[in-house]
Amino acid sequence: MHLKIRRASKAYAGVPALIDAALDLYGGEVLGLVGENGAGKSTLIKLLAGLEAPDSLEARLNGARVTIPDSAAARRLGLRFIHQELAIVPALTVAENLFLNNPLPRLGGVFVNRAALYTLADEALRRLGIEHIDLRQRAALLSPGDAMLVKIASAFIGADEQQPLIYIMDEPSAALNQAEAELLYAVIERLRARGCALLVVTHRLHELFRIAQRVTVMRDGRVVTTQKITETSAEALIQAMTGANASQLPATEQVKTVPPAERPLLRVRGLRTDALVSASFELRAGEIVGVAGLAGAGRSQLLGALMGIDKRRAGGIELASEALQNPAPADCWARGIAYLPEERRSQGLLLGGRVSHNMTLPHLSRFRRWLAMMDRRAEDRRSQQLSHSVQLRATGIQQRLRELSGGNQQKVMFARAILAKPRLVLLDEPTRGVDVGAKRDIYRLIRELAADGAGILLVSSELDELLALCGRILIMRERRLVDEVPTADLDERALLSLMFAGAA
């Protein structure tokens, strides 16, 4: 099997997103696709999926010329997609979600054959080695990691074991923790062995070296190079992606240990909500503290409890020795707590809104003039400054958020967080789906915030990130904060075993 793509081009409103890209997929091989955000990877995939009409595209499947006018055509050609955005319908059950892009098994041509539905769905999950997800459960109750697994599994529904297909995955592991990612790698390997062709977009280079045989690098809408994985290195790939020298990349700097202040900035005692069993810890000004745990361990719920998003059932929170009594998120922002939620697109951003409006959202009362009028000039000025300090790549502060790449959207969230010089910053997966260059900028921003005296609580599934940035790491298991360890005597393996302890 050979899918040959040539001359793939696409411009949005005159701005080229993809320029004359070429790609070859072969049966029995995994091709990795890497590049910074905005390099054109997602655009290329959308063309292959028939979701966007290309300006030009030449596709040949086993030598025969084919066109992909819509997603049904892509399906007929044997292409299966796992897109970056979570397309889960919360009101449907897990099994029904698995069949979203697939014809449902019928009874008498009209009715849904429930029994067959559950059997096939069960098969699909089992094929991925997933056993902990209840098929009859509403998808709304799934954690982001589990939701991603369900989405991945849906690409295998109705897959004929005999006929190999072409699988195209856009950052399939972005929302997964290490254990879940291992499941995914096993599935990818099985598909490859069966003769399928796979295209996997990823930001995790170590993952690339594990699963791919060849790698294609994109930059600024063009394919820069395609190489055998054995003939390249992480440094070479980073250089090809950024066009910069690898030595400029985030070094795992020595973590600064903060001298104990007289009073902690944040003191949490016996905190409990409906989604969090218990948490007690302290955080000092200028300190970066990590939160580690498996998916569903309650890491996001801890931040949600601090931010006043979930109603507090018990316990106390003191910020700079002042008690926070059941605050709303608005009160927390006003007290100097900044928050970057896990799902920046659905929980953080106004995608249809402008860059400046997104930056100032929690701070609008700072731009008050007479009679509660907006001081729009001051707003614009401040947004300009912030764009500069987070090194935002946008056409201007008037641009709509929807048009920015994932990394630049996240930089807008950081601009929002630093606008009012926060005392405490809550970060939930701040580098998810963000390219190498933006990651470097975000690490720099986090360190600068801490250096300016803010306390930072960082939730991340990337263990190297936690180890590189944090002085201490809080360990969560089963919705409890169970342990607290300094990173000085910790490596990834040790951290992982702490996360798993008791669960195994």
């Binding site: 009409a53 006018p69 819509d70 608005a330 659905s346 959202l361 609008l364 009679l371 009028m373 907006m374």
Partner: protein, 337 residues
């Protein structure tokens, strides 16, 4: 590859406005003597002033992503409340204050149900619509209030006008313009306006981003209730009659006007200037079709079709949304043959 050619951004944004001008041009050619005259246009602004007030305040509710279906029933109820007050000997000031208070209370009730209890705006205001209508019918015994009991200075307001040089501007037009200006300033220039748009843009992101959602949704329903009350008083004053169902047509027309206005915004957000054009379209249609002596029932059919057409065209041309396969095929075949 078959694809609907992208409509120029210009047409996407101004399509509805162009349609409006086409309608005006059509009536101009059909009724050259009467349609395009200053007195007729002054007349149109007065005819649409009541709908305008409801639609402008409805825009605020729709900015946050909600609806208020109870406005028509509220306008009727307010007329009956003021009429009953007159019957029991109240003065104009007292009756108007009482009527506005009822509008405020009704709006607060809607806001409480939607933002406090958490019922969907559709269901909650459908419920209060029925309650308000029942109240109006019960209080009035199903009969109209008219005649001597209504103070002359109250009914003269609705017919009155201010002489401005050559021009006689109706009081109702002025009042609607005032409400328009207020809503425009709130939505465009104030912090509250920005927050309302944020709630409509992404409710969860707005909450996580420190916006007090419940309070603002409550406020938007109170404003819409007050708008309905003002419209009800305008209607009562204009007709010198309060009938328990006379405001009923307002709700659908107001929502239609906001929808028409949304087609003129690149992000398809409700905006009050767009709503104004929507109201103008509805007002001009009613005026022109009446002049052409077209049956009012036919008028309704035409108005409905025009609303559907405008919203369809604008959603087809919106970014990211593509025409259905059959339409694209149709268009691409046309181009090749």
């Amino acid at each position: 590859m078959p694809q609907l050619p992208h409509m120029p951004a210009f047409l996407r944004r101004y399509g509805t406005l162009i349609g409006f001008l086409a309608i005006v041009l059509f009536f101009w050619t059909q009724r050259p003597q009467t349609f395009m005259t200053l007195p007729n246009w002054v007349n149109i602004t007065r005819q649409m002033s009541i709908l305008g007030v409801v639609a402008f305040t409805m825009t605020i509710v729709m900015v946050t992503g909600d609806f208020d279906l109870s406005v028509g029933a509220m306008a009727s109820l307010v007329g009956i409340v003021a009429g009953s007050a007159f019957q029991s000997g109240a003065g104009v000031g007292e009756a108007v204050a009482l009527a506005l208070l009822v509008g405020l209370a009704g709006g607060a009730l809607n806001g409480l149900l939607v933002a406090g209890v958490g019922i969907s705006a559709f269901v909650a205001t459908l419920g209060t619509l029925t309650v308000f209508r029942g109240l109006a019918l019960y209080t009035s015994g199903g009969a109209s209030i008219y005649g001597r009991v209504i103070p002359a200075e109250f009914s003269s307001f609705g017919r009155g006008a201010i002489q401005l040089g050559e021009l006689r501007i109706p009081n109702l037009t002025l009042l609607a313009a005032l409400v328009l200006a207020l809503v425009f300033v709130i939505l465009r220039f104030t912090i509250v306006g920005r927050r309302l748009y944020a709630i409509g843009g992404n409710r969860e992101a707005a909450r996580f981003g420190g916006i007090r959602i419940a309070r603002l949704r409550m406020l938007s329903f109170v404003i819409s209730g007050l708008g309905a009350a003002v419209a009800g008083l305008m209607l009562f004053s204009r007709l010198s009659t309060a009938h328990p169902t006379q405001g009923e047509g307002l709700m659908l027309q107001a929502i239609a006007a906001v929808f028409l206005g949304m087609t003129m915004n690149e992000e398809a957000q409700p905006n009050v200037l767009g709503t104004l054009v929507g109201v103008l379209i509805l007002g001009v249609l009613a005026n022109g079709l009446t002049q052409m002596q077209i049956d009012t029932y036919i008028q309704q059919i035409l108005t409905g079709l025009i609303i559907i057409l405008a919203v369809t065209l604008s959603s087809l041309s919106q970014r990211g949304l593509r025409a259905p396969e059959w339409l694209r095929r149709l268009l691409s075949e046309r181009r090749t043959t």
